[in-house]
Subunit: 374 residues, 2 copies
């Protein structure tokens, strides 16, 4: 852990309240943080939820205490634990990314180096040359003291984990802990835990990964890493999405080149043309990441601000209708909305939070907001 | 030819005088220019040569009129002509490089586009994938109106010429016109001329190329080109020398990537790591060179200044010994020599020219001068 960073354990009751809140429909990491900032605690936010969702025209409840306790008990059986943002065991690099999960489900990894980390991603239908290159890179990174992060997919991901089993490997799942995908990698997942590696996910127990969950998972692969290496990737592929996310998170992006005659080299070559660093050996990576500090270069401030909610200016009676009038399905900047409607900034924040929880708006790029297509 | 550039034909007598001067021992392109600047013409420089070389302690003669006329007659039999710097047929891009040859031996190429030119170089022991990539690049560049420049070597060079035979190709020789190397490419040389392409060299008729002549040739390949593409190259190879020369000449450098597991990709990958542009198609090259203008970006002023020699300050009687005292085998800046010895700049220039012709000094990086190891 970084010197000077304040961490504190959640109480069991707080952890259950956090879990209930984050597992509730329409509440993602950003809304979760806004709720905690406004109401001061997850418990208070849970109490307020029926009221503020009703204001947005769509009354809703958080998931029940019993369901949350069931998940905790279930995770226990898998040897997994929940770790909250701000707790000592929460991976520090993740604090620096936009939309970091408030709660992670985590197993193993107690003695891993979570700060010296390199992500390796690539094609599921990897060539034997790609697999060999991955083995060389992951093996040499491990031998140099770096933990290897990947997504437990077929091909390059699996090769990266296998080559770093003994030196430290971190697998990020797209689904629940009991829904490892692909099934053929379940034995590899066990090997990872048996060797002191880590498995983690932000998704609930029992969650079957859908296609949209993979890019979501990828932002954690890059977010956990100082830099991300793309080994083999087609021009449109999840690996390129990971590379883009890594850039947005201000991580170093590396790519292994290949012959232009090889379709599996297209993505990597394209990344290099766009500014990724060409990699031929682990030394090329270490030279760069050894001086990388994602905290210092972070584009985003740590999102979790565990201070008490400031006094709020409640919205005026007609503010909500004014705001709905001003919104459309075209994303618009919040500052522009404030200027147009004359709604006070604090009141605007409250109204948007309510509409968000009510499922009526969606955010893009942090500061742009639009009505949801219904 | 560039609008506004003044060109003029040499008279037959001037051409012979130029040839005698440049074919003389110790007189390279830079010394040639200094002599013309000082004496106003090659004829005058030839007359002065015995005297100034004697001053440097090593009396010498230019090659004879008869020998020069023999070369011209010999070139005639090969259908080749001599073209001088400043003449209309002299390739314009070459005017921008340091040490451009005063005289080129040239055959064919009358209807080539000498301004839209791309060099392609690479391994002699090319792989079939490398040859295929070269065919694709040279073919597509040709189809887009670019002339392809290369060195008529085995492997990549030959593939580049063959793929651009019909659209325009320029082969630069490392030896004399009658000493094409390797011999297996003599038929290709004939094909180039038969298809309107060009063969050129700065070396005398009958000159058998030695190993040091190949890098010398390579500076003309890059100098003739808007940009140079390296297709397959080992880590220490002539192709990398060409790339370095191209950078010094402010040309764009491109490299085709390859798997780090393939030794023939090492040079290209290294170049990309050092800043060369990664190339997967001719479009990647055209995008860059279509807006390149070597004249505008030239690091060097055109070297040939056909003005009359300015009045010279002759050196004082003891200046020569002062200068020889100050010189050593460690290269030193001319300005520093002037400051140390108190010799007037004009006199310094004359003395250095004499010592140069006398074979007593050598230049490095344009402005650094040292005693030759004897």
């Amino acid at each position: 852990m970084q010197a000077g960073r304040v961490t504190r354990d959640l109480t069991p009751a707080q952890r259950i309240a956090w879990l209930r809140l984050i597992r509730t429909e329409n509440i993602g990491p950003v809304t979760f943080r806004q709720l905690l900032n406004r109401f001061g605690s997850a418990e208070a936010a849970l109490e307020a939820l029926p009221d503020i969702s009703a204001k947005a025209g769509r009354p809703m409840q958080a998931i029940s205490q019993a369901r949350a306790e069931d998940e905790v008990a279930g995770l226990d059986r898998y040897g997994a634990r929940l770790v909250g943002q701000g707790e000592p065991g929460y991976p520090e690099h993740l604090l620096q990314i936009s939309g970091a999960p408030p709660l992670l489900t985590l197993a193993g990894g107690e003695r891993l180096d979570w700060r010296r980390t390199v992500g390796i991603v690539g094609a599921r239908n990897a060539s034997s040359a790609g697999v060999k290159m991955t083995r060389v890179l992951a093996g040499d990174l491990g031998a140099s003291g770096y933990s290897v992060v990947s997504g437990l997919a077929r091909g390059i991901d699996a090769a990266a984990h296998r080559a770093s089993l003994e030196t430290g490997t971190i697998a990020v799942l797209a689904g629940g802990f009991d829904r490892i995908y692909p099934e053929e990698n379940i034995p590899l997942a066990h090997d990872i835990l048996d060797n002191g590696g880590a498995l983690l996910t932000e998704m609930p127990l029992g969650w079957e990964p859908r296609s949209r969950d993979f890019p979501r998972r990828n932002r954690l692969v890059s977010g956990l890493s100082l830099g991300v290496v793309v080994v083999e990737a087609a021009k449109r592929s999840g690996s390129l999405i990971t590379a883009r996310l890594a850039l947005e998170q201000n991580r170093d992006v590396f790519a292994v080149p290949g012959s232009p005659l090889d379709p599996r080299a297209e993505g990597g070559n394209l990344l290099i043309q766009q500014g990724a660093r060409l990699v031929t050996s682990a030394a090329d990576i270490i030279e760069v990441v050894s001086s990388a500090d994602p905290a210092r270069h972070a584009l985003f401030e740590p999102e979790w601000q565990p201070d008490e909610a400031a006094e709020q200016n409640e919205p005026a009676p007609d503010d909500r209708s004014k705001l709905l009038q001003a919104l459309s399905t075209t994303p618009v900047d919040v500052d522009e909305l404030i200027a147009q409607t004359g709604i006070a900034p604090q009141a605007m924040q409250i109204l948007l939070l309510e509409l968000d929880i009510g499922g009526q708006i969606e955010w893009s790029s942090g500061q742009l907001v639009a009505l949801r297509y219904s």
